[in-house]
C-alpha cells in the first residue's frame, strides 16, 4: 500500500493552476489538484500495482475509508435499464460529513448510482435493481420504506438548474410548504438561513418575491442548493452541479460545497477532475458501471493504486 505522504509529489506545493484564468478557490487537496496539472506526468516514477482487471478482482478501496463512519452502504448493487445492466454490483460507502466525489467517463453509471441513493430512478420506466443500498443501516428498497421520507432526508441538486416557475421565496421553502409548514415567521427564517447557506442571500434579498426564472444560471443553481438545504437533509446529492455554469459561477458553487462540508454529507458527481480534487475528501472512480478505485482524494489523484485510475486522472482516456 502506498501512502500519500511517502510520495514525493505529495509534498510539492501547487505552484500553478490548471486553468490560469479560472478564479482562485480554496482547495482541499492542493497536491491532488497539482497532480492534475497538464504536462506533468503523474506516473513517471510511481510504482504501480499490476493488479488484475477489476472485473475479476472487485474495486480497490483504500483503508482510510474503514476509519470513517458511513451513512450510506451500497452492497452489491446492480441496476438495469430494461435488459441492459448499467451498474454491475457496486460496493461502497459514503462517509458521514464528508464530500465524496464520483468521477469517471460519461456513461460510467455515476449519475445513475447517485440517483439510486434517493430512488429517483423509480421515476424512470423499466428500471430494475438488485442488491441493496443501506441508509443508516436500513435497506432503502425495503417495501416498508417511505420513499418520501427518504427523499426528504436527501437533498438533490441537478445538472441543469431547475428552479420552479415561482418566486425565489416559494422555491426555497417548497420543502416546508409540502411538509405543511404555515408559520410565516418560520418560513422566512428558513428562507434566509438557506439562502445564506447557499451564499445567495445578499444577491437576492431585495427580490425574494420576484420570479426565480429571472436569476442568472449560477444564481439559479445556488437557489436550487438553497432549496435542497432548506429541507435540512442529511445527505446532499449533487449531479454535476456546475456542468452548465461559467467559471465564475462554478467557483462560487465550489466554494459553497467547501463550506457545506461537515454540515452535510455530500455526494457529488462530476466530470471535472479539478473540481473533484478541489472540493472532495474522498473520490470514487467508476468505469463502465463498476467501481474501480475508491479512496482519499489526495491519494487517488496523486498516487492511484490502479492503472485504470491513473490513466483516467492523468487524462489519458475518458
Amino acid at each position: 500500500m502506498i501512502q500519500a505522504a511517502e510520495d514525493p509529489k505529495a509534498s510539492e506545493p501547487p505552484t500553478k493552476r490548471a486553468q490560469p484564468d479560472a478564479p482562485v478557490v480554496r482547495s482541499l487537496n492542493p497536491q491532488a489538484e497539482a497532480a492534475l496539472h497538464p504536462g506533468r506526468n503523474g506516473n513517471s516514477n510511481a510504482p504501480k500495482n499490476d493488479t488484475p482487471h477489476p472485473e475479476q478482482s472487485g474495486p480497490f478501496v483504500h483503508p482510510e475509508l474503514a476509519g470513517e463512519q458511513h451513512v450510506l452502504h451500497v452492497e452489491d448493487f446492480k441496476l438495469y435499464y430494461g435488459k441492459s445492466r448499467a451498474l454491475h454490483g457496486i460496493n461502497m460507502q459514503i462517509p458521514v460529513g464528508k464530500v465524496t466525489a464520483l468521477i469517471g467517463p460519461s456513461g460510467c453509471g455515476k449519475s445513475t448510482l447517485l440517483r439510486s441513493f434517493n430512488r429517483l430512478n423509480d421515476l424512470i420506466e423499466n428500471v430494475r435493481t438488485e442488491g441493496c443500498i443501506r441508509f443508516h443501516g436500513q435497506d432503502i428498497h425495503d417495501r416498508r420504506v417511505d420513499v418520501i421520507q427518504l427523499r426528504k432526508r436527501m437533498g438533490m441538486v441537478f445538472q441543469k438548474s431547475n428552479p420552479f416557475p415561482m418566486s425565489i421565496f416559494e422555491n426555497v421553502i417548497y420543502a416546508l410548504r409540502i411538509a405543511g409548514e404555515r408559520k410565516r415567521g418560520k418560513l422566512e427564517e428558513v428562507c434566509e438561513k438557506s439562502l445564506r447557506g447557499a451564499a445567495l442571500w445578499e444577491e437576492v434579498k431585495d427580490r425574494l418575491h420576484g420570479s426565480a426564472l429571472g436569476l442568472s444560471g449560477g444564481q439559479q443553481q445556488r437557489l436550487c442548493i438553497a432549496r435542497a438545504i432548506a429541507a435540512e437533509p442529511e445527505v446532499l446529492l449533487m449531479d454535476e452541479p456546475c456542468s452548465a455554469l461559467d467559471p465564475i459561477a462554478t467557483a462560487k458553487v465550489e466554494e459553497l460545497i467547501y463550506e457545506l462540508r461537515g454540515k452535510f454529507t455530500v455526494a457529488i458527481v462530476t466530470h471535472n477532475m479539478q473540481q473533484a480534487a478541489r472540493c472532495s475528501d474522498y473520490t470514487a472512480f467508476m468505469y463502465l458501471g463498476r467501481l474501480i478505485e475508491y479512496g482519499p482524494t489526495n491519494t487517488l489523484f496523486v498516487n492511484p493504486h490502479l492503472k485504470e485510475t491513473e490513466a483516467y486522472v492523468t487524462g489519458r482516456f475518458g
Partner: protein, 291 residues
C-alpha cells in the same frame, strides 16, 4: 447524349415549375374561397346584429316585436356550455393528467389515449343519439340535460388530449426537483406542474368550449331547442346553433337574417379563443425554452 440530358432536364424543370405554380395557386385559391366564406359570414352577420339581438327573445311572425332577438339562444348555449363544463372539464383535465403523469406504468394509458383520439372523430350527430337514448328516452321528453351530456361527451376527449399535450410541455426537471425534495407525486402535480401549465390549460379548455359551442347536431334530438328564455334544463332547451339552423331552413326572411347574426356571434367567440390559444402557446413555448 448531352442533348438528351439537357432535354430531360428541360422537361423536369418545366414539370417542377408547373407543380410549384400549382402549389402556390392552390394555396391562393383555398385562402380565397375560405376568405370569401369568412367575409360573407362577417359582413352579413354584421348587418343583422343589433342591440335587440342580445336583449330580446324571438317573437313569432306577425306579432309586434317580430322578429325579436336571440337572447334565449345565447343564454341557452351559455347554460349548456356551463353544464357541460361542470362534467367535461374536470373529467377531461383529470384524464389528461392521467395520460401525462400517471401513464408510465399503466396498461390502460395507451388504449385511453387512442380511444380519446378516436372519440374526437366520432360524428357529433351520433353523440346526440347517445344523449337521446340515455336521457331523453328515460325522461320521456327532450331536455337540456341530455344536450349538456352530449356536449360534455364531445368535450372530454378534446380536453384530455390537449391537457396531456400541455402538461408534456412542462419540463421534466420540475418533476425531478420536486420529487427529490420529498414531495409526493400528487403534490408535485398540484403545486408545480399544474401551476406551471395553468395558462395553457385554460386556453385548452377554451378551445374545447369553442368547439362545442358551435355544435348543432348533438342538440337536435337532445335539447331540441325552444323559442322561450328558460333556465330549467328539465324541458326542451334553447341554443344559439339550433336556432340558427331553424331560422336558416325556415321560410321567413327576417329570421334568415337573424341566423347570419347568430353565426357572427359564434365566429367572434371562436376567433377570440383561437387567438388566445395562439398567444398562450407562443408564450409558454418561450418560457419552457428559457428555463
Amino acid at each position: 447524349m448531352s442533348t438528351f440530358a439537357i432535354q430531360r432536364n428541360h422537361s423536369a424543370r418545366l414539370a417542377s415549375f408547373v407543380m410549384y405554380s400549382l402549389c402556390v395557386l392552390f394555396t391562393v385559391s383555398i385562402l380565397a374561397v375560405l376568405g370569401i366564406v369568412v367575409a360573407y359570414l362577417t359582413a352579413n352577420g354584421w348587418r343583422f346584429v343589433s342591440w335587440a339581438f342580445f336583449t330580446q327573445d324571438p317573437q313569432p311572425y306577425g306579432s309586434d316585436g317580430y322578429p325579436g332577438g336571440m337572447r334565449n339562444g345565447l343564454v341557452g348555449t351559455s347554460i349548456l356550455l356551463g353544464l357541460a363544463s361542470v362534467v367535461g372539464v374536470p373529467l377531461g383535465l383529470l384524464a389528461g393528467i392521467f395520460l401525462s403523469e400517471y401513464s408510465s406504468r399503466s396498461y390502460i394509458a395507451k388504449p385511453v389515449r387512442f380511444t380519446a383520439d378516436v372519440l374526437t372523430g366520432v360524428p357529433s350527430i351520433v353523440v346526440g343519439i347517445l344523449g337521446y337514448e340515455l336521457l331523453v328516452v328515460p325522461l320521456g321528453h327532450f331536455n337540456g340535460w341530455a344536450g349538456a351530456l352530449a356536449l360534455a361527451f364531445i368535450m372530454i376527449p378534446i380536453v384530455a388530449r390537449t391537457t396531456e399535450e400541455m402538461l408534456r410541455l412542462v419540463p421534466n426537471s420540475y418533476r425531478e426537483a420536486s420529487i427529490a425534495l420529498g414531495a409526493t407525486k400528487a403534490r408535485t402535480i398540484l403545486k408545480v406542474i399544474l401551476p406551471a401549465a395553468t395558462g395553457s390549460l385554460i386556453t385548452g379548455v377554451m378551445l374545447a368550449l369553442a368547439r362545442v359551442a358551435g355544435e348543432t347536431a348533438p342538440l337536435l334530438f337532445t335539447a331540441l331547442g325552444s323559442r322561450l328564455l328558460t333556465f330549467n334544463p328539465n324541458y326542451p332547451f334553447p341554443s344559439l346553433t339550433k336556432q340558427v339552423y331553424d331560422y336558416a331552413t325556415g321560410p321567413y326572411t327576417q329570421q334568415k337574417e337573424m341566423a347570419w347574426g347568430g353565426i357572427l356571434v359564434l365566429l367572434a367567440l371562436i376567433f377570440v379563443f383561437n387567438v388566445a390559444v395562439r398567444v398562450t402557446l407562443h408564450a409558454t413555448g418561450r418560457t419552457t425554452r428559457r428555463s
